[in-house]
Symmetry: C2
Subunit: 314 residues, 2 copies
């Protein structure tokens, strides 16, 4: 655990490579990083709705990690923002207090062009920060849209931040939120409705765990503004790190990520090939005309085109 990250020699160099990734100029980031060298960072995904105090929590948590001698990189992903190029999102301004500390790196990424582009660039940026030698990489995402779920697949451990109060049911029912969390953080836990909320949450998690034959994920209570509970959250994250490394779960998860990337690469290339074929097929043009004329359904036209198309894969 060095105090200055190694691998990529300076913060400036890291930032420059992430910018290249963001502009889509790097086709094989793992290759660029000498076979995707992982320096063994613990990649922590932290997600939560806007207003959950997630950013404040990340700020306080990062201080705790620094105090414990860990170097930290924070990547804040906001698909609803069009800011890019390392632009500082609103709440990132607070983090400027870290700006004199070379052991902390902060970067925001918004939507530049497509949201799939953002997901890909974020995944690659995590690889860069891992290779750069930071002990911990925190990926902070807003909400749980498709992009966020995509990005969080590269995290070793995912923490979901919730807040007691209005919209509880909505927060919890959000597609995917219960499945994605390795642990849950109830922030603003000084609110009066906290104990009821935690009880309901644990009940829901127990049901989910039974269904998937998994362990019950831990629930941590924090008040980011006062720092209450943040030390316990940090201890829980460390436990995850140690246990997952010892059990081989960390490695299995990383291999799963690599398999997913391999699959995605193949799919993208086959799709590109398909689109090229479709764009220069007079037969498809004729079938399309027949669909427009109401002579056949899109489904029937698809079947007919594919039947006569020679697609061989072997």
């Amino acid at each position: 655990m060095s105090d200055t990250p190694v691998g990529l020699s300076s913060e400036r160099e890291i930032a420059r490579l992430i910018s290249k990734v963001e502009r889509g100029e790097v086709t094989d980031v793992a290759g660029e990083l000498a076979l995707g060298t992982s320096a063994g960072a613990h990649v922590i995904g932290i997600t939560g709705s806007p207003g959950s105090g997630k950013s404040t929590l990340v700020d306080v948590l990062a201080r705790q990690m620094r105090a414990d001698g860990r170097t930290v990189a924070i990547l804040a992903i906001d698909p609803s923002s069009h800011l890019t190029g390392g632009a500082v999102l609103g709440d990132r301004v607070r983090m400027s207090s870290h700006s004199q500390d070379p052991g902390i790196f902060i970067r925001s990424m918004g939507t530049r062009g497509s949201t799939t582009g953002l997901a890909r660039a974020s995944r690659d940026a995590v690889k860069v920060l891992d290779a750069a030698g930071y002990d911990i990489v925190i990926v902070e995402t807003v909400g749980v849209g498709q992009v966020e779920l995509d990005v969080l697949t590269v995290a070793d451990t995912v923490a979901v931040v919730l807040v007691p109060g209005l919209g509880d049911t909505m927060q919890m029912n959000k597609a995917g939120i219960m499945e994605i969390g390795d642990l849950f953080v109830v922030n603003m836990a000084d609110r009066p409705e906290t104990s009821r909320f935690v009880r309901d949450l644990k009940q829901a998690l127990a049901v989910g765990a039974r269904h998937s034959h998994a362990d019950m994920p831990p629930v941590c209570c924090t008040v980011a503004l006062t720092g209450d509970g943040v030390a316990e959250l940090w201890a829980t994250l460390r436990e995850f790190d140690e246990r997952d490394q010892a059990s081989g779960r960390r490695q299995a998860r990383r291999q799963e990520q690599q398999s997913r990337e391999l699959t995605r690469r193949i799919e993208n290339q086959v799709m590109a090939m398909l689109h090229q074929t479709m764009n220069s097929s007079p037969r498809l043009d004729r079938l399309r005309q027949r669909v427009w004329a109401g002579e056949m359904t899109p489904r029937a036209a698809a079947d007919e085109w594919l039947a006569d198309l020679k697609v061989h894969m072997d």
Copy 2:
């Protein structure tokens, strides 16, 4: 403009077909409907954030359309809800006042299984309601996630509902929201900040229109709770309908939808074929092992597998 929809003989029959679509039991809804007969419904997409008063607005608007002799089907899509099978979403309870009117049909759809499943089922449900002979099909979606954008591709006209006040910038900057609207509705327009909000909105729309060389989309102000401005909104929607039919824009948009469906059908089948090939490829297994061992990047493995794979398309 008949007062009872034709084509599918009863509301019960329509509901049953939509349920089949929802369960994924209909592979070719257009075929089922005798080549996707469009009875010429005006399909109106209405989208807006939770809290924009969108559902109340749809309710009041539907009354106005009924008073004008039009039959109306309302399809409320909520990807964050797991309810399904025609379940009544919270705010749909209000609509029960219509329940004695055979000229109005209301259906809610939530996520059943995958969100792509919801997008597909919603598109098919619109086709069913169109074929059933309703004069107007309103597709109401929450927010502008990927599913919503997918669903709204089947609308002839899309109205985006906004509310003056906090979060203006966030609402407007949301990826895709400015691009998707044919018209914009400023609801709760009795708020004091309305005039400033409308001015800012029009400015932003004017910039967008200049960039895309398109007409400036109309902005309607409404107060759904009192009904203010709803008659004007209905008049604007009728104008869209008449103008788009006369100019051929309606037909062009429908053809575009059919082309998109044809493309999607082909892509899905090729993907299925690809996955089958990948799942039974020992060569891919070996390449995956080499990636896991750090001997090659996922990108290089993908290239190598595809290079030796015989994919012929012609």
